[in-house]
């Protein structure tokens, strides 16, 4: 029995050291947790940039990861609160369903890609394609994001306290993008929109939940111009 499995029999934080224990054993332990588990606090040491740490957790536990992680950390999260005390590689919280993922450092490409729900908080910067094809997740980035962020974003909210790279919100559907800084450019079919009181209350709530120090009045709202939704006969010559 691994040390982690022994600890699981007691109601104490489980410490899992990836310097000497296998990632696969961690995944097996997390996936074996029943919905009513009392083992609700986990600490993961020495991730050393490994991929797929704390992926596919479906129970409301709290997981703290002490260090930098590689690809797809906290992917498919459904209900857990996962904190990364470091940087995250590509695809952090990809396809999250619910819960909270908090990156204390920077996130690489495609943070929160295709995610359906939950809250992703990035204290630093996120690189390219943040929130690509997001489908309901809320993302708060306290720094800046890279190019093609919110590409084909369908629903949810992307809040950016800093600036953005090129082509923000390209081919956007109905996600909201709040940005306090300056977009390098807007993508096709993305435009600035008037911010309604409802939009503003969403922004204020997200800033509060993310612990972000920012004035809501500094933000502009970007959304879809809705001209790419349907085939337009005037474009027939392009095919």
């Amino acid at each position: 029995m691994s040390s982690a499995l022994k600890q699981m029999t007691r109601i104490e934080p489980v410490t899992f050291d990836l310097a000497c224990e296998k990632l696969r054993d961690l995944s097996v332990a997390l996936h074996a947790l029943p919905p009513q588990t009392n083992q609700t606090s986990w600490q993961i040491l020495n991730p050393r940039g490994q991929h797929a740490v704390a992926v596919g957790v479906t129970v409301p536990v709290s997981i703290q990861i002490d260090g930098h992680v590689g690809y797809y950390c906290a992917g498919m999260n459904d209900g857990a609160v996962i904190t990364i005390e470091g940087n995250a590689g590509p695809g952090v919280a990809e396809n999250m369903m619910s819960g909270i993922v908090h990156v204390k450092g920077d996130a690489s490409q495609a943070a929160g890609a295709t995610a359906h729900g939950g809250l992703l908080i990035i204290d630093g910067n996120a690189s390219a394609r943040c929130g690509i094809s997001m489908k309901g997740i809320d993302i708060v980035v306290k720094g800046s994001v890279g190019h093609m962020s919110a590409f084909m974003a369908q629903s949810g909210n992307l809040v950016i306290l800093g600036d953005t790279g090129e082509a923000l919100g390209d081919s956007l559907y109905e996600a909201r993008i709040f940005c306090a800084g300056t977009p390098a450019s807007l993508g096709a079919d993305c435009e600035e929109k008037p911010m309604t009181p409802d939009d503003k209350s969403i922004l204020i709530d997200l800033l509060h939940r993310a612990g972000a120090q920012a004035d809501p009045d500094d933000f502009k709202l970007y959304g879809s111009a809705r001209t790419l939704y349907h085939f337009h006969v005037d474009n027939a010559g392009a095919y």
Partner: protein, 293 residues
Amino acid sequence: MCGIAGLFLKNRALEPELGAMTAAMLEVLTDRGPDSAGFAVYGDGTAGFVKVTLRAPVGFDFAALGHALQVGATVRDDHAVISVPIAREAEVRRTLQASYPTVDIVASGTRMELFKGVGLPALVSTRFGLAGMSGSHAIAHTRMATESAVTTQGAHPFSTGPDQCLVHNGSLSNHNDIRRTLIRENMRFETQNDTEVAAGFLSWKLREGAKLDEALTAALDTLDGFYTFVVGTESGFGVLRDPVACKPAVMAETDDYVAFGSEYRALVDLPGISKAKLFEPEPAKVYFWERAA
């Protein structure tokens, strides 16, 4: 997918450790490129001499070759580095081409040695004794082939000019066109590989008088496709990602070194990494470090 590891030392006290540090980084990247591997190391040079890295079929008698050409030869598995007086370089090259048809000239330069082969990166690294090498900077690559066959010739780094090498993660889409153009400029290519064309393009620019950063900037306008490049020159180390930045890249900088890894995993055992400045190189931005003379 491929893996890249690069290390440029600022602190000369670390130079004896360069090979060991690079070998460790290379092995971590095995699962990004298990089919072949290679590396270039910029070590000591001898004034008035050029190092020529040769490759020949297993069992070739490099000692006899060195004796016949009257040059010193350091054999490392199926490669050897011969040290040739600069005044004799052209003559030695002619002799190699005329009399040693099984010997390939892999690279040359005052400081660069370049080794590559097919097989798991750890095996390639061990065969050539990378961990025991010293120097100021090194560039290493693990290959998962996409654009040309799994051969020693197709492994990276590619060298198309003196002390110049390039490794690549990605694939180019206009390399045939650029190869034809460069052939008209008297550049020579050994393979049908896309990366060799990128290396040749930079060597051509350098030959025409550009600095490395200027050559990399020109590459942004000319090369079409996906790429993260790490390039080396006698005194410099550069990084360039395409504007879309499909291929991953992480860098770490301390007072002692600049390190490049396709993933952070490759950097995790470097000294002082916990205090290093970690960043992803931005798309379409030229990064370049040069060693003071």
